[in-house]
Symmetry: C2
Subunit: 483 residues, 2 copies
């Protein structure tokens, strides 16, 4: 235990909570199951959100781009009950407003657990012609789901997310939309930005979004060998268009129901980010997402040394800021350098620069990587270039490390006893043949708590025997215990 | 009535609603009193929000900058009741969650009508030393107030806003914070960005925020001569620090309560923007906030003319986009130029470029200003420069026009009969002497519906006689009917 952080080996779950609280990413709120996202956590979320938002706005289908909008928090009870699967899936986990302005409401209002119903009622009003399609709308909003067991970022009563909701004239375009979001936005942000390699595929029917025809997803592997669903993209077919009566007059004059999609990622991603990269010394942030990429710690013994060291630090900071590096100097007088090193390690800053009289005299700087702890002395000449290269190297190295971890913890087996042994002893992804019957999926979950994370999209037919029942099977799927 | 827009003269209130709906800024939702902010309205909000956010993050006091965070939507009933004025002011207009996850809750949860109480409970946990001060946090969030009479953007059950909440070691710094927010952020955004001149001052005790020691505000004048409060900044003193027990150990070892401020602006600003500048042809957007600043409408008769015109339009659009102008081409084939002109007028685009074969041949372009309707033919040489200058001129001209309107509709009188006459016949700001007693303030409101909008901060003592009771008075204050 360093700085009050439980080690991963000792208690992974407690380690995670310690990191979130000590690195001041979030805090428990006095309302059960809700959290406060503190400034440090919120800055990471803002970077992630802005990157996702930028990508959403710069793509689209049918010659249009996605646009943001905002719909009400409240959903009338009658709306939520209009799509049969949707009501089953969401009503039991809703928070309900029954009083407003001192009076009991005539119709209960549910706080949005997702916004399909409130949005599609408007869509039915806005869409009348093929000219109105595609309709490509995204919303950033808070969501409420009355979870019983909660964990900071991963599962909270209230969370923040984006939810895209689109309507199309035909199914091909709707399908194209679901894949574009999954491949060009969610996968790219996860891998290139969060440095987390993901598996992509289609959920089994039992794991689908309530009301969807198909749910596509990306899944990452955490350091405790549990999978975490990081984003979903739903092909809704006409399942909502019909109860919400969203129809358009096509070019040939005929009246048709639209095809729809919805897709989202949430503040849960921050949980994934923490669990994928951090270590027993604290948070490890990928440079692309770190609010502060470089922290300069001035080292001095006397007041005159302090002045010259801080001066030199400011010169370096300015030269880095000019080259778009997010840099800060820790000028706090009340703390010693050793305390500061630990403090910034805890907060996950990718690079620390140690700068003392000797470095200044030699025109050098000491750089320390957060991810590996590796220390090197470099020249101050071309420092911005050196730092840029180092940040790029760290970003890549975090991804490579996570990919190696994922590969090292992926197994393949046709034998159910071996399967159970792996699941019990190690976890990770285990690929096995499956006959596609829900009974066998359920049996695995009962026996091992593992679920089928997805059906790979591009897998060729692989004749085999179902790992559970031995019946002929055509696909192999990755099982894992999951958050 | 053009394009289904009622004229201002005929029915100002209906004109406003027509503009909001027809320009697709917002729409009524099926939930009473809630609105949907449509993509066009949301893009304007995003520009406003980003500008405010940028300014908030780049300023602060005590050597620190403001940071964003996120606190829960839910407020336990007991919290809201801890500050006496606060409970009186807000509890009657709250929405209340009484059921969650299928069960009745033990303690009712109020949806935040403002976040002082939920935030300050955390502050009491986070603040223990002078080193923790100042604490400068801002939040962007949705807010719920159970209003009976609602209007799109201006007063809705749910709205979006930012709320800053700061804690300081002494009152001087807290006061400095309230003034910095009012002067450097709210006033500058209103005047420089929204092109709306504002009056600044302090609210009378009866108009204060519930729980505040002092409330500072900015107020704009709308085209119907009613004032609209556009932003407030509250000096909370120690009114919340005491019930929430927010104390710090000062440098001398003594334990002290903090001094606090809170401040906010909301989507109501979009309502102000519409009412200040728009006309009977539709929305008029200041260039600084317009999602599209320049719309190019190609004019052609044949298919071959179409091809060459659109080609020329694209070249112009690229040259403008390269110089950071937000430009679009209306290539829709199903509509004639005349329809497009009206459509973009309705949506408030500041500049229209008309481009036909003749203009192309002469290397010219026809520019039409949305604010004045003025048309001019200019050379395509240096067009980005010409457009930049025009956009700057329009931004300034909108402010000047609004300032002239404000001045033309500001009166000064010492005579109550004249006061009442002005209020009844015209409205606007009327400056009159006031004895500072709430009874006289109330009397004016009863007689005329006008309220004191503020007490100017820097006004010198002006001996006079109260406009209502005739008692000696030391200040003159602006009265107005208000939204």
């Amino acid at each position: 235990m360093t700085k009050g952080i439980t080690s991963r080996k000792e208690d992974y779950s407690q380690w995670y909570t310690d990191i979130v609280l000590k690195a001041e990413m979030a805090d428990y709120s006095p309302v059960r199951g809700c959290m406060v996202i503190r400034p440090h956590g919120f800055e990471v979320w803002e970077r992630l959100r802005d990157e996702i938002d930028r990508r959403i706005k710069s793509c689209g289908v049918g010659g249009k781009l996605h646009k943001n909008a905002y719909f009400p928090l409240f959903i009338p009870e009658s709306f939520l009950k209009r799509e049969a699967e949707h009501v089953k899936g969401f009503v039991p986990q809703c928070a309900v407003v029954t009083e407003g302005g001192g009076s009991v409401l005539e119709e209960k209002l549910y706080l949005r657990p997702t916004s399909e119903t409130i949005m599609y009622d408007m869509y039915s009003k806005w869409i009348s012609s093929w000219r109105d399609l595609p309709l490509l709308i995204n919303q950033w909003a808070n969501i409420v789901r009355w979870e019983l067991r909660t964990r900071l970022f991963l599962r909270t009563l209230e969370f923040l997310w984006q939810e895209g909701h689109t309507a199309h004239a035909n199914h091909e375009e709707a399908y194209e939309e679901t894949q574009m979001i999954l491949n060009d936005i969610y996968t790219r942000v996860a891998e290139d930005f969060m440095a987390i390699p993901v598996l992509r595929g289609k959920k089994t029917p039992s794991q689908r979004f309530p009301g969807a025809v198909d749910t596509y997803c990306i899944e990452g592997l955490m350091q405790d060998n549990k999978a975490l669903q990081m984003g979903t993209s739903h092909d809704l077919g006409q399942n909502f268009a019909k109860p919400f009566n969203i129809r358009f007059q096509d070019k040939d004059g005929s009246l048709k129901y639209v095809y729809q999609t919805s897709w989202g990622v949430s503040t849960r991603l921050i949980g994934a980010l923490i669990m994928a990269h951090s270590d027993d010394s604290g948070l490890v942030l990928p440079p692309a997402l770190a609010p502060v990429q470089v922290i300069i710690v001035p080292i001095y013994k006397s007041d005159s040394e302090r002045a010259s060291t801080i001066n030199a630090a400011r010169k370096i900071a300015n030269s880095l800021a000019d080259e778009e590096v997010r840099v800060e100097i820790d000028e706090r007088e009340e703390f010693k350098p050793g305390f500061k090193f630990h403090d910034w390690e805890l907060r996950g800053v990718p690079v620390r620069i140690e700068l003392g009289p000797r470095e200044i005299e030699d025109n050098n700087a000491v750089l320390v990587r957060r991810d590996t702890g590796k220390k090197q002395t470099v020249s101050q000449n071309n420092l911005p270039r050196t730092i840029h290269d180092l940040l790029t190297a760290i970003q890549k190295s975090l991804f490579d490390r996570a990919l190696k971890f994922q590969k090292d913890n992926t197994a393949e087996t046709n034998d159910y006893e071996e399967f159970k042994k792996i699941m019990e002893e190690r976890g990770g992804f285990v690929w096995s043949p499956w006959c596609e019957r829900p009974e066998c999926e359920d049996k695995v979950q009962e026996d091992t708590k593992a679920t089928i994370r997805m059906i790979p999209l591009d897998s060729e037919v692989q004749e085999g025997k179902c790992i559970v029942c031995g019946a002929p099977s055509k696909i192999r799927v990755p099982f894992a215990k999951a958050y």
